[in-house]
């Protein structure tokens, strides 16, 4: 390879920087104008004949793929129903937690139905419709040493996973427990089994599913801290689809759709401890 002179290297770097700057510049200028043309309005979707929905492909029981290769789950059932009520075909786009926002904003999908928790940060970049599910922090403990009140945790070791709502809640609002922090779900549950803490806190919907397979444990505190809501999300500015989705959620709630969806998709995973009313919402 030929040796690059320092001058040429600097020129190359300079030109690259200008190119990137130009890209970023036109990014910021055009992002605002793209709001004005709504390519995903209800009328446009009906004309196109397909609704593009972002779903998870690896999160049972919300959005996953069963052994015959079909997409199933609580979110997926809702997605199919929404498409049916719009009178269009459905096209699933599988996303990860990280690219749900990008998929919407880059126009890859019309709506996200992927266990999307409403947060104030996300509200700034996407538009959330009415919630169809609620979760909050739960605390799981062994059945023979059950924890049912936060006061029982005082001075005891409580297991959490870093970056979860549970960690956040017990760091900022309930500081009486000693937190043992882990990096993954697998690690935290192993720690609980090895009795490194008296209890473990996480999103209650995960805990319900876990105790189903670990009958020696129970979700003693079903919900503490602020409730969190799971909502459909559409692109910011897409009021047409947002309004339609809001009406649809109200209609489906009245018709008892979420109750059936819960019974079919979530109940087999959650076990008997949980009632539909712990998860679904009555608007």
């Amino acid at each position: 390879m030929r040796k690059l002179g320092l001058k040429r290297l600097l020129t190359t770097v300079g030109v690259l920087a200008i190119l990137i700057g130009a890209l970023a510049g036109c990014g910021s200028s055009k992002a605002s104008s793209s709001h004005t043309t709504n390519q995903n309005s209800v009328a446009k979707i009906k004309k196109r004949g397909t609704l593009r929905v972002a779903v998870f492909g690896d999160l049972p029981p919300y959005g996953w793929v069963n052994k015959s290769g079909q997409r199933v789950g609580y979110d997926v059932t809702l997605a199919r129903r929404v498409a049916k009520d719009l009178g269009v075909k459905i096209k699933f786009v599988q996303v990860n937690a990280n690219n749900r926002v990008d998929a919407l904003n880059a126009n890859k999908v019309d709506i996200v139905l992927a266990n999307f928790t409403v947060t104030s940060e996300r509200k700034q970049v996407v538009a959330f419709a009415k919630a169809y599910m609620k979760v909050s922090v739960g605390v799981v403990s062994p059945k023979d040493a059950k924890i049912t009140k936060v006061s029982q945790l005082k001075g005891q070791n409580l297991i959490v996973t870093k970056g979860t709502t549970a960690e956040n809640y017990f760091t900022s609002q309930q500081t009486s427990a000693n937190l043992l922090k882990f990096d993954s779900k697998t690690q935290q549950f192993n720690a609980l089994k090895n009795k490194r803490g008296v209890a473990l806190a996480d999103d209650n919907s995960y805990l319900y599913a876990w105790v189903k397979n670990n009958p020696k444990y129970t979700v003693g505190i079903k919900g503490i801290g602020p409730k969190q809501y799971i909502s459909p999300a559409v692109k910011k500015g897409n009021t047409s689809l947002l309004n339609w989705t809001n009406q649809e959620i109200t209609k489906l709630t009245k018709a008892g759709f979420f109750k059936t969806d819960y019974q079919q998709q979530l109940a087999p995973y959650f076990g008997k401890e949980v009632k539909a009313s712990d998860i679904i919402i009555n608007h």
Binding site: M1, T12, V15, L16, L19, L23, C26, G27, K30, A31, S34, G57, D58, L59, P60, W64, V65, N66, K67, S68, G69, V93, Q94, V95, N96, N99, D102, A103, N105, A106, N107, K108, A209, N213
Partner: protein, 228 residues
């Protein structure tokens, strides 16, 4: 061995789904290599021209695709560019395009290097018998550069096949993505399934890449023998 998790592979249509994912992987890699190689050879020849602005632009192109990680390129082409220019290509097309551009840039450097490695006297001898520029390329330079560039090309191919594992980031249903669907769907009932799924994916990649690797070795050996 009821709990070894191997039945995760055979349950339902899991295995044929994995094969379907593999086909997506292979298809994208193949088309990208094909287009990338053709474009790359042309660009490589252009880079041996004495035209400085042209060489500078092509150099910039090469460096851009060589420096920027493939993940970033995929993200840029799938999520960011469509927003600016209002072109919305399907994920598989974007994937093929990005990989083809990447292969073309790397190929252009391999071809340039190979052409420049052909001894100068060969070129001068060609010019002396009155060959035109393209005749010189066609009959003198390319035939001699070919064996010089081939091992690096084969190496590039194996890298392309392996890098397709990043495609799950832009919603392409490649073999890794399908594998993860199956792993997560069975995680509760067969926690060891993950071993078998990644095991079979390893075998798939091995079956594709090992012959390439053998071919590469064979080419190197033949070149060494030819030189002695």
């Amino acid at each position: 061995m009821a709990h070894s998790g191997i039945d995760v592979l055979t349950a339902g249509s899991n295995f044929s789904r994995l094969l379907g994912g593999l086909w997506v992987t292979v298809k994208i890699a193949l088309i990208a290599i094909l287009i990338g190689t053709i474009v790359g050879i042309l660009l490589g020849i252009l880079r041996t021209l004495p035209n400085r602005p042209l060489r500078f632009i092509l150099r910039l192109y090469l460096e851009f695709f060589r420096i920027v990680p493939t993940v970033v390129l995929l993200f840029l082409f799938y999520y960011i560019l469509p927003k600016q220019f209002n072109v919305n290509l399907p994920a598989e097309t974007v994937a093929t395009l990005v990989f083809a551009l990447w292969v073309a840039s790397e190929m252009s450097d391999i071809v340039r290097g190979a052409l420049e490695s052909v001894p100068q006297h060969q070129k001068e001898a060609g010019q002396a018998i009155g060959l035109s520029y393209w005749q010189l390329q066609r009959y003198v330079l390319i035939p001699q550069a070919w064996p010089l560039g081939l091992p690096a090309t084969v190496n590039l191919m194996t890298r392309v096949v392996k890098t397709t594992s990043l495609l799950m980031l832009i919603s392409v249903m490649d073999v890794i993505n399908i594998g993860q669907q199956i792993i997560e769907a069975n995680n509760k009932t067969a926690p060891n399934g993950v071993f078998w799924i990644y095991g079979i994916i390893f075998m798939f990649y091995f079956i594709i890449n090992y012959p390439l690797s053998r071919w590469d070795k064979h080419l190197n050996k033949r070149r060494l023998e030819a030189n002695h």
